[in-house]
Symmetry: C2
Subunit: 903 residues, 2 copies
Amino acid sequence: MAKKYVYFFGNGKAEGNGTQKDLLGGKGAGLAGMSSAGVPVPPGYTITTETCRYYYANGKKLPPELAGQSKEAMAKLEKALGKKFGSSTDPLLVSVRSGAKFSMPGMMDTILNLGLNDVAVLGLAERTGNDRFAWDAYRRFISMFGNVVLEIEKSAFEKVLESVKEKKGVHLDTDLNVNDLKEVVDLLKKLVKDETGKEFPQDPLKQLEDARNAVFRSWNNPRAITYRRLNKISDEIGTAVNVQAMVFGNMGNDSGTGVGFTRNPSNGVKEFFGEYLTNAQGEDVVAGVRTPKPIKELERDMPTVYKQLREITSKLEKHYRDMQDFEFTIERGTLFMLQTRTGKRTGIAAVQVAVDMVKEKLISKEEALIRIEPDQLAQLLAPVFDGKEKTVAVKGGRLLAKGIDAGPGAATGRAAFTSERAVEMAKKGPVVLVRPETNPDDIEGMVVAEGILTAIGGRTSHAAVVARGMGKPCVVGCGVLKIDDEAGVLNVDGHTVKEGDYLSIDGFTGEVLLGQVPTLPSEVVRVLRNELPAKESTLFASFKTVMAWADAYRKIKVRANADIPRDAIMARALGAEGIGLCRTEHMFFAPERLPFMQEMILADTEEDRRKALDKLLPFQKEDFKGLLKEMKGFGVTVRTLDPPLHEFLPKTKEDAAVLSQKIGIPTEKIIQKTHELHEFNPMLGHRGCRLGITYPEITEMQVRAILSAACELKKEKVNVLPEIMIPLVGNVKELKDQTAIVRRVADEVQKEYGVKVNYLLGTMIEVPRAALTSAEIAQEAEFFSFGTNDLTQMTLGFSRDDAGKFTKVYLDKKIFTDDPFATLDQTGVGRLMDLSVREGRKTRKDLKCGICGEHGGDAPSVKFCARTGLNYVSASPFRVPVARLAAAQAVIEDKTGKSYTSK
Amino acid sequence: MAKKYVYFFGNGKAEGNGTQKDLLGGKGAGLAGMSSAGVPVPPGYTITTETCRYYYANGKKLPPELAGQSKEAMAKLEKALGKKFGSSTDPLLVSVRSGAKFSMPGMMDTILNLGLNDVAVLGLAERTGNDRFAWDAYRRFISMFGNVVLEIEKSAFEKVLESVKEKKGVHLDTDLNVNDLKEVVDLLKKLVKDETGKEFPQDPLKQLEDARNAVFRSWNNPRAITYRRLNKISDEIGTAVNVQAMVFGNMGNDSGTGVGFTRNPSNGVKEFFGEYLTNAQGEDVVAGVRTPKPIKELERDMPTVYKQLREITSKLEKHYRDMQDFEFTIERGTLFMLQTRTGKRTGIAAVQVAVDMVKEKLISKEEALIRIEPDQLAQLLAPVFDGKEKTVAVKGGRLLAKGIDAGPGAATGRAAFTSERAVEMAKKGPVVLVRPETNPDDIEGMVVAEGILTAIGGRTSHAAVVARGMGKPCVVGCGVLKIDDEAGVLNVDGHTVKEGDYLSIDGFTGEVLLGQVPTLPSEVVRVLRNELPAKESTLFASFKTVMAWADAYRKIKVRANADIPRDAIMARALGAEGIGLCRTEHMFFAPERLPFMQEMILADTEEDRRKALDKLLPFQKEDFKGLLKEMKGFGVTVRTLDPPLHEFLPKTKEDAAVLSQKIGIPTEKIIQKTHELHEFNPMLGHRGCRLGITYPEITEMQVRAILSAACELKKEKVNVLPEIMIPLVGNVKELKDQTAIVRRVADEVQKEYGVKVNYLLGTMIEVPRAALTSAEIAQEAEFFSFGTNDLTQMTLGFSRDDAGKFTKVYLDKKIFTDDPFATLDQTGVGRLMDLSVREGRKTRKDLKCGICGEHGGDAPSVKFCARTGLNYVSASPFRVPVARLAAAQAVIEDKTGKSYTSK
């Protein structure tokens, strides 16, 4: 039997069905489903996605069977409607639309009113008794077909229309009369002739073939390719083509068209939500020329139709057991459904809808959990722009640039170009910190800023990591910005932003806008911060419910990366079960501590180093006390000093002079030391345990601080569980060197205090060699924590600070499906992790394994970790809910064998 | 039965034997062996190395059995000699010497004349009838014992002697009379009392115990530890202690002492070789106070003794089947042998002795091969300093500094501080290029220099790698040099060397000397360069013989890394079977090409880039033609462009201005581009195949050049075997991207020429992820070449340019047993290689695997590669013989289960 490429639907029947999204695309499956369910749908047929795959696999040729099957389907369609395609008296008009498995809104092309020509337009006019309608339909068709199929610039057609409107002295399209429209049609046809050298095609069958091919072509237009890349949709699946009888919402005031949702897609509230226009075609709603009316007014305008629409859509929601996004048209009082599909929703709505539907017994808890994209939870915690205000700003030409969305949330404030100025300016009002890139020196500025914007760096750059850790909106890698931080000015594309000018950044989209755009605060965070009573927030209750469900399913623990008590408090509130990474070096950048750190680095002798370290000890001890206290009953993993020492020294002569004044070491010497510490590849240089091995006194001081803090709290009956972690180990002998110091100092301190502390002693696995020799390393280490940022850098040979320059090309060329610094490279890095866990546990059965790289807050990576048998993941506090949900999804997916979110 | 810690020897018998080096140490085994063989040896006993191990394992306590066994041995000794230890009339005197399994010359301590005290000295005087001798022996003993056992500075004793000599107005020790010596003894004893607060010990048994313990202690003195580290001797094996009756070469003109070799240890010639002094003790020969006589004069002085010595030593050589290094003493006309051991020898001697001994049927070819340290072969190819002249220079205070010995050979010339000046100055005479560090810009200067000296970098720094590739002497990482290259001056330790001053560097030792030290050219290289007829060089003949033997055994092929025809010619002469790595970028640094390369980098559009590439194409094609022609019949692996582009751009504003003049691109733009290309970690940045992926036109040009060259030669009937290699692949999709370009362009070029070329298409395995995904990568790659420099950097997380700062500490702390950039880390990097070869060959059975990192010329690494099943190693041309020999040794070791060189 010949392969079936064409599926008919209509008259309460369909050859396909609502589950065949793979074959018919989302739209086609929806139309088939609705048809079978007796929903009024204009009849039509779907050309399968397989046809599209065939087209691309065979040098853009179509399967030979297609012509015959299409003809057959068209005959059925003509029969169903009692009209003839191409008839000059009562022409059958169709729409031709793309429809892939996954919704790609606006990315591919649509043609309406196909079948019209110079003769049929007259037939349509006569048949409908509406000349104006017929000629308006024709001019729309010529424009759409001319643009989509004949590839003439859209603006050329618009110009024609504008010129006629100008000539006639009218403002709205609807003000043009039949004769005007006839003139427009003539001019449009002339345009087509001028541009293509050929007459506008008059044969409806040729129109249909060309339109169908244009849809297949549009699958690979740049917009569509980019959209798929961003949304991780495979290029291989192809699109279907839907050919459907036209119904007209623009046939008078008893006609209309609209779109809607069965629930509010912004906040998830169960309400009938939508807009419509009377006497209009679908594109008018989207185009924003006329302002649509709220759908409630339809109840007043056409109560029967309204009632029917509500009944149909609520039936559809029950049938599909999910919120529906639908399109409808009313032609002379008759309702037609044009589309139904699962409605896209914000994170807030996703949570609310999921919780409500469980309450309504529409779905199970498992389904509820699997339907929420873990990433969307971040939206519940971030401030957001007021959507209308942002649209106004963009329309007003205030969109300045687009960078990488690196920290969710919206921020608006005055531009500050240095950390110092940010601190100063923040005293007077909100500030957005703008830097070429950030480094640890900028921490203070980041703390006070509403949001952070950088020209250099990717999603795991310093700016991005720290911002997400702080829960701050952040846009990075916005390369078009020419920032002169000394002058306090940025230039882009003819615009100049000076210090103090307002800027707004959208960390969800990477957009940078001129001026202020009002934001709305996150309700959940306000509750967690005790700024809003929990009982006043439905959203918080729903969030809490979802998190509780997730916790009941997940097996892997979730910890947080936190360096200071404030972050630890938020981490606990967000459900963190301990701290997976405390970076001790962040504690050294505070203004009152840094000079001691610098003194230590500049010391020539061990004795002088020890003197400086002694001054740092009390600070560190207090830091650790704060963290251990907040995390009582939970493990707190403290990493010994990791970054190269030059990071702590001044970068310029001027700064060196200032430091010299402060600590009494000659400027020359400071500069010389900075010179000496310079490294060609600092990432692979003198850092991590290499510091503790060359300067054992640093490790000693840190261990003393950790154990002293633990002993003092133990005396106060606080249940402390410190875990000391040695970074950048690649050889068991490095670890032995350091554990010897740790054990010795820990014994000393416990003896001094007369207290016994249960502490663990482990290592980061972030050097490939460590993973490869895990069996040996587990002899010394009581736990492994995968530092997947560095492990990715070394396993792939990618500097995350530099890879931005070619990562885009890699994504475009599909060498990467994901940025490996955002989502774990399971094939390479994952193989090392798996090997490490297995071989480590062969040596030490109860070896505790976790991950503390940025991937600990990325959903697919969390799932991988759960499946690899890790004991915990550790994420920045605001990513903890994401990790909790992803961990639950891993269990549910493994149980059901299905994954809702994969593409 | 109690464990035996003490082994007696003497009177033609011995409790131990000559093979027990592990237990008795080298010296002890030699003495036992000689005793048993009837060689006249002063009797004595050996305390085993096991005792030393016991001592360190038990908190520096000795086994309880030792005292009794020592007493017993001493009784035997007394009986054998008819003397009493501690007797006041005829005292038995002994020497106490260390003796580990491996010779550690001068690293541990020796005490002579032990048993003397205030009474015994009188007995000795009476018994020998030689007052002066007795008191001289006593003062020597006090000095040695005081220094070694009581740990008083040696110089303190020397000062006492000098003060008396000055007082008496004499120059030589021998000019002091008995009374003078008595005065010296009194003053020395006073010194001991002042320094230790105790009298000089008078009890001979106490002296003996203290001396024995001092020897055990000396096993862990810093000198000994360093020596073991440098010579890769385990710290665990411990030393033996030899207590032996004293014989005296200083009892008149019928007495004497000497050292010798059974063959010439410098050139291997079979001749009786040595020096002696009449009326002297052993230490006088070494101390260099009196000039020793050539051993031939002994024939005239004491013909019977000479004859006996020749008979004994040639018997010993036959017995041990290797060249012997011996010590002897003649006491009143009687010959005593004090030591015999395998003689250390230069590389030249090692080859000559091995070849001669096979001819003499003393050893088999296998033994001959296994006895030559592969590294020593490099010495045959390098110029050397005239040993006497160097000693004069060092004694004259001209030793300026010591760096890392990075390229074997000696060089002397005028200091040039920039590449340009080196080129200029080399026109007038030999030049040593002195740079803070080198980079590819310096190539021209390195080509013209006799040797290269840098302040920064290790054994695999740019300077070291390139120098070894060129066979040039090189000293790197000489951190004490303060080099101001702009001013053309270096300062070190008060000395100033200006441009044009003479410098000499010893690439065997890392020494840097002021002024000229004459060198001797390498004979082998002169033959290979046709500057000396082969028949005139015995050494060349021996070298050739050894290489031929090695080739008959080895299974792994040996290729060379070479970029230009001149290097390829030398590589072939040295036995290379193809080129394993041609770095195409080295071709771009020539002055007539660099501007085109820079133009390419500075281009804003693909079109402009292509224009610049078109200018480079003819150069590259000619380069490849040269290489392919020289290597006809053998594979030539060409790597596509690898280094980050900023390496090709000027580093300073001034240089940018010069370039601007040349190519007409504004200075500002050049500087801005350099800025844009800056990377934080260039090692992990935009380089390797990432260049070819972002700029496909570069790969295209290079493939076009390779294939065009191959086609043109093919038309000339030259058998060409090009192999195109893509660097830095970590993902099979990267390789696919590049192979698509290669195949396409290769097809085009072959069509243009109408010729078919057999070429291979493969990849470097130098990113850990590549090794981990070898099964996938082998689908695309026809060969793998392990780039172990980068693979080591990434697997260990060590930047080779920066690791110098802590590698020394790692070696000192025994975290590393070897520098991982010199000798392959078999546990970590080796595991990845093994995995890669196995998994790659599962996908592609005939996958060709090789190594082209620096490790390809390191003997233990070559052996590892052979055992891992690689098809070839590729080394710099001058390391090819090393690799050939190591490859043969791997086969012989596996066959016999024995390794001669391991420690």
